[in-house]
Symmetry: D2
Subunit: 340 residues, 4 copies
């Protein structure tokens, strides 16, 4: 049946009552996910200078609560992938980023310098390589310690939470910085050794362990490497919530991965999207058919359902940190993966 | 610090490397969800004629696999709310809608006529008021029975699945209609009475009961009404998965609600979005401050975090069917509600 | 090494400090469970007269709180099996069994007459064939209704709870009968139709449905029978907790089973123990190699890990109710079954 | 109503058909658990010599598979408590305890010497203070290493498994010792650091971590001690299954507890029973009103629902290891505790 004038009037009338004919909606029978996001690499060499320049452009605490540069996927206005946002954040000696909380949850992977992130009253010491959590609705702020600039990789689920129309935000009542309620390292003390306090069970929907120390994680990774590598994932550990054995946050999973110098992984794709950060070494990834060469502290986005593989340069042991939105898919049986 | 030419150059250079300064991203500190969707009502009186006219414009099975009119929120191109899509679907005597499957899950609430929806080989008889499930990745088709046009309300999670980049679609291999594997009513026979087959446990992530019969549901609602009504929710039952006690689908919850003639509910809002369909009676809702008068078979969208209340006309017992995206929020502790 | 006088002194000295040499403890390397309990049948024809005679021997409410005859396994002083106790209970017109509660949970399968069991304030009408729950620590009493004697089969987990040293018991404070808090049939109204009240989630560790009506259960069983029978289990339904899909009580599972006239099941054994009650028809079971002929209202014990099979007499449709301690084994992966 | 001759005949006739009148069954209305077991202390000084003497009385591997002295509660023939059995086990230089498996699960707390326990092919190095698991149905054997006698405390759930009629036992087919499938420390490598292998999820009902090293556990305990002590439990950690956050075995929970020199705990009782082993220091406990003075390596039983409190001698930091049957009670909501 060809589209006659009558048909056109019919479709016009549908639009007038805000309905669309299913048989004309594009994408209805697409056999696979349609992914707008593109693979992309953000380079430390390019961004670090801009981060320091930002310190001249804006005053932390005065003009804004955070000095963060958010990487956005070139196909989008906001979001490193459709669900995750990553970026660098800088706190200079003497500075503090004030206390607030929000429904989006965040992870911080420390790159250089040191300082405290205070989470619901617990001062958490951040040192290079540490993974620190500031889960959904926990009060948090960042306080510089020492002489060096404090820089980390931020990872948040903001695009997802906003898409779900569930974003709430609150400044700390009355004053700028929350009170300290415990001593430093309290959560590591309680949950950091495969044992748990026997007297007060943890009931919140996120990990009670706020800091996953670099030395512990890297040592575990090296030990696991002795047992051999998976062809698609190399040697890979997940940071786990010690009271559930599950992901660190309800929305995000974090991993640490090792590629022996000169080795490469085979192609892999999955419906989850991922942001990788290069913790050690140099190499390259081929993502959606495009090659990206990377160095320490660079980070890159692998969109959903896009083939990718990594290679470590000869003579370079590579450690990759990554965050994934896989926990957002699993409750709905929407996670799917394919191996080349 | 005023925005000088130097600042402008700085911000320009950020854009060149695909990063955004967090302190300039709009909405970062919005205290509450920003909801673009608007409340809207779709009227049976207006849409029913268009649905029949659609039968003249397109041939079911020839030109397209489904004759469905999808209601889109006036603020969007696609989606009745940001996560759900609803609409009417029509199958005429002698017609069949061919077999396919997809990751989006669907519910069907029958409005008139009768027919079979075949779900993974089970012919499910649909009669007015029945709720029928075609969960994610189940093979399904629709086959007319009797003399009257078969019309139902569709409800799917397509906007969510597409936003999550997880939509897969497949036509039934080889032929147009799947083979029947069981007799009619098999799932009701196994799971429809508060008992369950003792010998083969059900392990899929959705309800094994494919049909929730109107007579059973309505009778349960009338009985529950004897115990009184909640001021905000009136008398409300959830259709439950008999092997988990949870929602019927991993992504969608369905409810049946009764308002005694002449009564009204008090204001309520939640981060989940809802599509209501009027099964019986007439009345009105006030949604986001706007009044919508409705009659039997009309349906309307209540966006996230938007105040709403319902009223039954004098002399009119009202029954509302509704579907909600609440299961999409719960795994992440993103569901929140407020009562006036 | 033969047992010398020196060895004997050694073993004697062990006993003096309350230790036993593992290598001399009998049963340490038994390949399969050692089961002391024996199969046994209790006949309605023999016990019913004794039950009425009990009414002459003791006054209900005066001398004792319950007029129950507890079947004990001939190999034991207490317990129909090692974990379960079953028996008949009688309440005569005009009588009431006072309110109390205890950690053991109970099920009641109604045999004749009618009356109310009040459970935490809800009057539950018991009619022949109904399964009624009085879960752990619920206040309960039994009140006669009508003209006929009210008789039911009791099933409790007392032997298990006592063996676990966890038995607590309490009489209702102040008066003999608890106050009624809801109208009759409240839990059926809320949970009896595959739907659940949407506004107040149930959080207790047992089924919120206190009564599983005979007509519903039997009709479901007949419908399921149309789909054919399992060779070892015939046609078998489990009564399920509608908010979890699991067993009705944390410790006990209940089933209803149908054997078509003249048919038989094949041999089966499992580490759980079972008490069967004949609801309809006559036939026989072979348990541990011994034949037991039964009629309506008889009940019999099948010990753990003991082979058994059932046969319905020609011309007699058989319905068996059963209770099992399988839920006590499952949390520990101790349930195992074998089919002939 | 006094017990007449007629009554006596009635009760006699009940016994003839294997039923008991509920109103005459002792203990039916006991308000609290009736506990037969008694508190008891087993002294290292007394038992160690007997353990070495046992090596002269029986040949390991020849006459018996294990050289273990099982502590039995003086009120019972078998079982340190009603659910648990504890005891010392000895393997001398050059000896091996052959491979077998059984449904009872076991924990081993190492006291002196060193050696391997091989668990399903993984050689687990046992050193003083280590907690090693040999869960239900895992193949396991013990192989001496070094020059010193290897002695540990055994803890098993045998009394429970036997009472549940669910004990199965099997020798390793064909040869005496199972083959090694992984290198030493494999499970610690995979799960011992708050991270988990990302590529192959663990699905068994017990902890994948077979060894909880002393140095890690003790360091965690010392760190937790800095945060203060609970008045009833002092400083107490639970060894947890890293993939569930729950107990190490489905039936048993293990704890490590510290009392600062000269401090004491207040009275506590619970429906679970416990075996405590003194890892460091000396002191005493008052259990059920009776005082027990203990030293390093002694162990003692605290029966269910029995008040107890511990005190560390002046100048002696005390570390207590304990195993509990609490996981056997929790699935049934039978765990209850009271604090003085």
């Amino acid at each position: 049946m060809e589209s006659t004038a009558r048909d056109q009037r019919f479709y016009q009338r549908l639009a007038e009552v805000a309905v669309a004919p299913l048989w004309r909606i594009p994408g209805t029978t697409d056999p696979e996910p349609v992914v707008d996001e593109v693979p992309h690499l953000w380079r430390w060499r390019e961004l670090a200078p801009l981060l320091f320049e930002a310190a001249e452009v804006m005053d932390l605490g005065e003009e804004a609560e955070r000095r963060a540069l958010n990487a956005y996927n070139p196909s989008r206005k906001f979001g490193t992938t459709h669900n995750l946002v990553a970026g660098y954040q800088l706190v200079l000696p003497g500075e503090e980023a004030p206390t607030h909380r929000h429904t989006p949850g965040a992870i911080r992977f420390m790159l250089s310098g040191s300082g405290h992130t205070v989470v619901d009253g617990e001062p958490v010491l951040m040192e290079p390589g540490d993974l620190v959590l500031t889960p959904s609705l926990t009060w948090h702020d960042h306080r510089h310690v020492g002489d060096e600039p404090m820089i980390w990789l931020d990872g948040l689920d903001v695009p997802f939470v906003k898409a779900m129309r569930a974003g709430f935000y609150e400044d700390y009542p009355g004053r700028e910085l929350q009170a300290l309620l415990t001593s430093e390292g309290d959560s590591v003390r309680r949950y950091g050794a495969g044992l748990a306090p026997a007297n007060d069970p943890w009931a919140k929907p996120y990990s009670p362990l706020m800091n996953y120390k670099w030395s512990t994680a890297y040592e575990a990774l090296r030990r696991l490497a002795e047992a051999g590598a998976d062809p698609h994932e190399a040697v890979r550990l997940e940071y786990v919530n010690p009271v559930t054995g599950g992901h660190v946050l309800p929305t995000m999973a974090c991993y640490l991965q090792l590629l022996v110098a000169g080795t490469a992984t085979r192609g892999l794709r999955h419906t989850s999207s991922t942001v990788f950060c290069v913790v050690r070494g140099s190499g390259h990834s081929v993502i959606g058919g495009k090659r990206f060469d990377w160095e320490t502290n660079d980070f890159f986005a692998v969109p959903s359902w896009t083939w990718y593989e990594h290679a470590a340069d000869p003579g370079e042991e590579v450690v990759l940190f990554s965050m994934s939105d896989r926990p957002m898919l699993e409750p709905f049986a929407l996670y799917r993966e394919q191996r080349a």
